[in-house]
Amino acid sequence: MSPLPVAGDLLLSTGIEPIVAWRTWALTGHRDGTGLLLRPVAGRSRPWKPMQPVEAGCKHARLHSAPHVDCTCGLHGTHGLDILRRTRCPAVLGRVALWGRVIEHDLGYRAQFAYPQLATLVCQFCFWQWGTHGIRPDVVGWFARDELVPLCWSHLEQAQRYGMEPRRLLNADEIALGLRETYAIDPLVRW
């Protein structure tokens, strides 16, 4: 990459290798564990279609293309894992390839194109409390609107105690395998 000065404090570089960053997703699927789709954790954005590059969009699309320096639009990835513990209801943790126009920030990136590379299911409560230590879920709860929530036994019990009762329980290993096959990606085994 060869940095060139551009307007403001930002430098402009070029590259031929995608950047790989950390990311979390929400997960949806049918009651039988089919139709698995990764979705952004924030808002009601469109799902990431399997086997296709995802292209960023912006609600201000008439004004600028995504990602834009003065906006928050673009497909996000982060340098580290810790910041992702604060994301809302993550179901999947993984590595994502970013390319096209990529804006690098202090703690991560916003990109024009993206596709997942590695993924693992996470119990969102374990991930929030303890980071990546012991986040492996035992089951995946199927909820209304096809929302899938991976949980360990302990947090499933707590969720049920507080009225968060899944309509159906699915095997976490089978969902993880189905997700990897759907997107043709590898498991995330080290971090």
Binding site: L11, P53, T78, W99, H105, Y115, Y183
Partner: protein, 47 residues
Amino acid sequence: MDIGRPKRIIEIDPISLPVPMPEFPSPTTEPLREPAPERTPAEPADP
């Protein structure tokens, strides 16, 4: 999620896309079609 201030812009044009390609059947591995069985005239039914 707050990822801090922007530092630089990178234009990345990858040599190969990091997206798996769908598998198409190879012409050499496509199974050969068996010829349709010849039609023979139906034998007359026994009276």
